[in-house]
């Protein structure tokens, strides 16, 4: 009876306040070794596969990777000049500068044991500077955002979880929408899209950066189908996430260069000004 009451009180406290967060964090830090052990079978099987790969296959793999690097490098050369041009144009328009983001590679070490609660665990934590709300990508697109950080691990909520939504825009024409997860790893849904919106099957949706949580311009999903139903106020748009939500093992954590670009420089200049006025008279 006492335990039941205590549990109910705990649920209430955790629901309304955030005082229990450090407790949760320390317990999850304690659980880290178990996570490591439970990941061992996968690591070992990958290791043995690597050991038994033949030399020829490895040579082939290296050759194809070199070719890929060459293609990507030529693309990134172009990207540098395009980014510079974009910034010049944005300056002409008096818009804020296009920010460059840094990324850190991280590895997936655990997935949610509960299929209706879609998160993954990555091997970087607060010691690596990970913070709650940070965006996580794989090589194809947006994966999700960090929702919980302990010392060595963080929990990432996938964009396909039912509680998750990403502001997106169509890459072709900039139509804005919000992509909701539906609890299915291979499907998202755009809600409240007017019947007249210019969205077609095959369109690429990129993150719009509205709301300030996700960096803008990363691919999120591609449109699979749009169905118009005369009886319903909105079009039904089904989209498939670009990221390999259930396959990718190496992920990227996005670190914006200046996490709060509008606020920080202003404050430092004010401080400088204050200091000078103190000295001068």
């Amino acid at each position: 009876m006492l335990a039941v009451i205590l549990s109910v009180v705990l649920i209430m406290v955790d629901l309304k306040f955030s005082q229990l967060d450090p407790v949760k964090q320390s317990i999850s830090t304690l659980l880290t070794p178990f996570q490591w052990v439970s990941d061992l079978p996968v690591q070992i099987s990958e290791g043995t596969i690597f050991i038994f790969t033949s030399r020829d296959e490895l040579d082939d793999e290296i050759a194809s990777m070199r070719a890929k690097i060459l293609v990507l490098e030529s693309k990134s050369q172009k990207l540098a000049s395009v980014t510079a041009e974009l910034n010049r144009l944005r300056e002409l328009l008096k818009a804020s500068r296009f920010l460059d983001e840094g990324v850190v590679v991280t590895e997936l070490v655990g997935v949610s044991p509960d299929p209706s609660n879609q998160y993954i665990v990555i091997d970087k934590g607060s010691t690596n500077g990970v913070y709650v709300g940070q965006a996580v990508l794989d090589e194809y697109g947006l994966m999700g955002q960090v929702i919980e950080v302990n010392q060595f691990r963080s929990r990432v909520l996938l964009i396909s979880d039912e509680r998750h939504a990403v502001p997106v825009q169509v890459n072709r024409n900039g139509v804005r929408a919000v992509a909701h997860g539906v609890g299915n790893l291979s499907e998202l849904r755009l809600k409240n899209v007017p019947d007249t919106a210019d969205i077609q099957a095959g369109d690429l949706l990129v993150s719009s950066g509205l709301g300030g949580r996700f960096p803008s311009g990363y691919p999120v999903a591609s449109v699979v189908g749009v169905s118009h139903n005369a009886g319903e106020p909105f079009a039904k748009v089904r989209v498939a996430p670009q990221a390999n939500l259930n396959q990718s093992r190496l992920l990227l954590l996005v670190f914006p260069e200046n996490r709060d670009p509008a606020v920080k420089p202003l404050i430092s200049e004010q401080l400088k000004g204050a200091a000078e006025t103190e000295v001068n008279p």
Partner: protein, 159 residues
Amino acid sequence: MISQASWLAILFSFCIALVLELIRLPVAISEFRPEWLVLTMIYWTLRSPMTMGLGAAFLVGIILDVMAGTYLGINSLALCLVCYLAIGMHKRFKMFPIAQQAAVAFVLVLVHLVVVYTFSTLLSRAEDGWGIFLSACASAFFWPILVVLYDRLNMGLRL
């Protein structure tokens, strides 16, 4: 079942259960994941309710909550209820044949999952709940194996 339990065996079994609980399964069979920690807790409560009672159930529930990322207390509430039921029947349970034991384990795990499902749906999200039957079935299927394993463990580690 013998009624003494060694602390070493209890600790060891919970470590095994934790690792099994966290292990990665392919997406196709992830719905069939048995509730290893709940099964382990039920096993020890039935074997020796004096050493592993409601307090232990509460602690294990908290660990489950942290692992699943749910609100703290949901799993501990469910596990306390399950343990209460288990303590009530632990004397009869020892006489049951193994198939009947598995059936009882199925019901207990189902009670746990239903309570967790009810609370998490009440507090945060609506979800498809049929998966809990698959999970409970898988738990019942693994119960006999678990009993044999833990009995051996307990015999081996008794001091």
